[in-house]
C-alpha cells in the first residue's frame, strides 16, 4: 500500500460547524489510523484476518463507547465526537469501524442503557479499554430483516436460565469474550442476556470465504443448553425495542462512517486523476473525469451536512429512528456509488490492493445490508411518511 496522505474534502467549510475538541479528536484518530492501521490494513484484508493487536489502541483513542459516561471508563463525549471517530475509522476500513460499532453501540450501549448497576461496573470499563471484547447476537439463519420472528429462546430453571438456539452473521463473534444475545422467554417476549465465553454449550464458529469486511471477523453463536446465570439478564428492557434501540445508535455511527469510506475513495481518485496522464494530459483534465469528481464531491457534501444535522439532533436526544434510517441508507448508497466511480477513475489500478477502492467497495456491500438493509430503511421512511408499514 502507498503512504496514506488522506485529506478530507470540506467544500462547504463544515469544519466551522465543529468545536475545537471535535477537530482534535478527528486529528488524533486520523493520526493514529495513518500510523497504526493504514500500513497494515490491506494485508489483513487480503488474508481475511482481523488485526487483533490494534484492539488496545482502539480503546486508547476512544473508539469503544466514547459517548458513554466517564465514570464507567468511557469518554463522556458528545454524539458528534462518536460520529467523527467512526468516520475516521471507516475512512480506513469498514471492518475496523464495524468492530468499534459493535463494541460501542451494540454491546456497551445496551449494558449501559438496559443493564443493572452491577453489570455496568463489571463490564463497561473493560469493554471501553478493549481488555474485553463483545459481540451482538440478533440475526438468525431464518430471521434477518425480521428479527421479531427469532426462535432462540431461554427457559427459567429457577436458579439459572437455559439458552438454546443459534445466531448468524455475528461480527466479532470468533474472538469476543461476551455476547449480548437477544432471545425469547417462555412467554415469547424478547430479552437480552450476557453470555460469556467459556459457558458450557456456547460455541462461536467462524464464517469463512467472505468477499466483504475481510478484515473483520464474522461468526455464528451456537447455544446448546447453555446455563446462563440469572444476573446476566439485562433487567431494564423487554421486547423488540431493546435491540432496535441499540441499532439506532449503531446506524447513526454507520451514517458517519460511510462518508469516511466515500471521502477516502474521492481523495484517492482526485489524486490519481491529477497524476495519471493519457493522451498527453492528466485524466483530471477530461470532462468525463471532472463530472465524476464533481458529482462525488457534491454527494459527499450533501451527506456531510445531513449527518452533521443528525448529530446535533442526536446530541439533543431528538434524532428519531426514521431520521437515522434516512441517513444510514443515503450515506451508504452514496459511498457505494462514489466507490464505483472512483474505481473507474483508477482504471486497472483500481482493482488492485495498491489503492483502497476495491476494498471499500466490497466492504460497503455488507454495510448496505447489515443494520437494516437498504430496502428495509426505505420502508421505514415509507412507514414514517404514510403511517402504513409495507414490510409485513
Amino acid at each position: 500500500m502507498r503512504t496514506d496522505r488522506f485529506q478530507h474534502p470540506d467544500h462547504y467549510l463544515m469544519d466551522e460547524l465543529l468545536t475545537e475538541e471535535h477537530k482534535l479528536i478527528r486529528d488524533t484518530v486520523r493520526a493514529w489510523v495513518k500510523k497504526e492501521l493504514s500500513p497494515i490494513i490491506e494485508d489483513y484484508a487480503q488474508r481475511a484476518e482481523f488485526p487483533k493487536h490494534i484492539i488496545r489502541g482502539l480503546g486508547e483513542i476512544g473508539a469503544f463507547g466514547p459517548s458513554l459516561p466517564a465514570e464507567y471508563g468511557c469518554g463522556g463525549m458528545d454524539q458528534i465526537s462518536y460520529g467523527i471517530i467512526m468516520q475516521e475509522l471507516e475512512r480506513c476500513d469498514s471492518g475496523i469501524r464495524s468492530t468499534a460499532s459493535v463494541q460501542g453501540s451494540l454491546v456497551m450501549y445496551p449494558i449501559y442503557k438496559y443493564g443493572s448497576e452491577e453489570q455496568r461496573r463489571k463490564y463497561l470499563p473493560k469493554l471501553a479499554s478493549g481488555e474485553m471484547m463483545g459481540c451482538f447476537g440478533l440475526t438468525e439463519p431464518d430471521h434477518g430483516s425480521n428479527p421479531g420472528g427469532m426462535t432462540t429462546n431461554f427457559k427459567d430453571m429457577g436458579d439459572h436460565y437455559l439458552l438454546n438456539g443459534a445466531k448468524m452473521w455475528i461480527s466479532n463473534a470468533p474472538f469476543a469474550d461476551i455476547a449480548v444475545v437477544w432471545a425469547k422467554n417462555e412467554a415469547g417476549k424478547i430479552h437480552g442476556l450476557i453470555v460469556e465465553r467459556g459457558m458450557e454449550g456456547f460455541t462461536t464458529p467462524e464464517t469463512h470465504n467472505k468477499w466483504s469486511l475481510r478484515a473483520s471477523a464474522t461468526g455464528e453463536l451456537v447455544f446448546d443448553n447453555v446455563k446462563v446465570p440469572k444476573e446476566n439478564l439485562l433487567p431494564n428492557i423487554s421486547g423488540l425495542k431493546g435491540p432496535m434501540g441499540c441499532l439506532d445508535s449503531a446506524r447513526y455511527g454507520i451514517a458517519w462512517g460511510a462518508i469516511g469510506a466515500a471521502m477516502d475513495c474521492y481523495d484517492s481518485a482526485l489524486n490519481y486523476a491529477k497524476e495519471r496522464v493519457q493522451f498527453d494530459k492528466p485524466i483530471a483534465a477530461f470532462q468525463l473525469t471532472q463530472k465524476k469528481l464533481a458529482e462525488m464531491l457534491t454527494e459527499i457534501t450533501k451527506a456531510q451536512l445531513l449527518t452533521w444535522r443528525l448529530g446535533v439532533l442526536k446530541n439533543e436526544d431528538r434524532a428519531s429512528t426514521p431520521q437515522i434510517s434516512m441517513a444510514k441508507r443515503n450515506n451508504v448508497e452514496m459511498a457505494l456509488h462514489v466507490a464505483r466511480e472512483a474505481r473507474q477513475i483508477h482504471g486497472g489500478m483500481g482493482i488492485t490492493g495498491e489503492y483502497p477502492i476495491m476494498r471499500h467497495m466490497m466492504n460497503l456491500e455488507s454495510v448496505v445490508t447489515y443494520e437494516g438493509t437498504h430496502d428495509i430503511h426505505l420502508l421505514i421512511t415509507g412507514m414514517d411518511i404514510t403511517g402504513m408499514p409495507a414490510f409485513r
Partner: protein, 246 residues
C-alpha cells in the same frame, strides 16, 4: 523534573502559501495550523524524561495569538500539565526568545526543550538565544538525552557525524528527529485537557530586532527536459544557455 516546552504554531505542511498587503503579510485565511513537528518531539521527550524519573511537570509555552490555543489544548491532551500563552504576535526569533526567557527566569525549571527549528520560518534561533538570555548552556539538534542526577548526557548531530556531550542542569535543548516518536493524544488525555490550566500572560519584554520587508514565493519549477544519452553537446548547450549553471 520541572520542564518547559516551547510550542510553535505552524501552517500544515500541505498549505498553499500566499501573501497579502504588498507581499508584507502571510495570508492566514483558510490555513490549517499544527504544532511544529520538532516541538512535538520536545513535548514527547519531556513527558518521557519525567516518566523515567518517576514524576515532574511539563509546561507548554507559546508566544502568539489566541488562534493558537487549539494546539496548546492539544499539547495538554498529549500530556503537558499546564500551558502558557504570551499574548503577542511573534515578530522574530529574538522577540520569542526574550518573552520565553522573561517567563522562565524565576520559575525554577530544570530544563527547557524546543524544536531544532520551526518548519515555517526555519529560523532555528530560539534555543541559542534562550540559553544566552538565561545564561544557561544551550545544545542544538539533540538526538538523544538521558539525565542522571544534575547532569544530562546528550548526543547531537554534527556535519557528517555525531557529538556526545554532557551538560549541567538547567539547560536549553533543541530537538532533532531521531530523539523520539511524537506521541498521539488518547481519549483520556483529550478529556483531561478540558480542565487543565491555560494561562494567558501579557507581553513583557516586547523587543524585536528585525522586521519583514517583503516575502516572495520561489520561482515556479521549470519543466523537465529529457535528452538522449548521445546528446551531450545539446546538454552542455542547455546547461549554459537555459539553466545558466555553467
Amino acid at each position: 523534573m520541572k520542564i518547559l516546552v516551547c510550542i510553535s504554531n505552524v501552517p500544515d505542511t500541505t498549505t498553499k502559501i500566499t501573501f497579502s498587503s504588498d507581499n508584507k503579510e502571510f495570508n492566514k485565511a483558510g490555513v490549517q495550523y499544527i504544532i511544529n513537528p520538532y516541538d512535538e518531539l520536545a513535548l514527547t521527550k519531556a513527558l518521557e524524561l519525567n516518566e523515567a524519573a518517576g514524576g515532574g511537570t511539563v509546561t507548554a509555552i507559546h508566544v502568539g495569538q489566541a488562534d493558537a490555543e487549539p494546539n496548546l489544548r492539544k499539547a495538554l491532551a498529549v500530556g503537558a500539565d499546564d500551558a502558557v500563552r504570551i499574548d503577542a504576535a511573534p515578530i522574530d526569533g529574538f522577540f520569542v526568545a526574550s518573552e520565553i526567557a522573561h517567563y522562565a527566569k524565576d520559575k525554577g525549571f530544570d530544563l527547557i526543550l524546543c524544536g531544532r527549528e520551526s518548519i515555517d520560518y526555519n529560523g532555528g534561533m530560539v534555543a541559542g538565544m534562550l540559553g544566552e538570555l538565561l545564561d544557561w548552556p544551550s545544545v542544538n539538534v539533540i538526538t538523544s538525552i538521558s539525565i542522571n542526577g544534575g547532569e544530562a548526557h546528550l548526543e547531537r548531530d554534527i556535519d557528517g557525524g555525531r557529538e556526545v556531550l554532557t551538560a549541567k542542569l538547567p539547560f536549553v535543548g533543541s530537538c532533532q528527529k531521531e530523539l523520539t516518536e511524537p506521541r498521539i493524544p488518547n481519549m483520556r488525555g483529550i478529556m483531561m485537557a478540558r480542565s487543565k490550566p491555560l494561562q494567558v500572560l501579557p507581553v513583557a519584554a516586547n523587543t524585536a530586532h528585525t522586521q519583514v520587508a517583503t516575502y516572495a514565493a520561489p520561482a515556479p519549477k521549470a519543466g523537465c527536459k529529457f535528452l538522449e544519452p548521445t546528446q551531450v553537446e545539446e546538454l552542455v548547450h542547455l546547461l549554459h544557455t537555459e539553466a545558466k549553471v555553467i
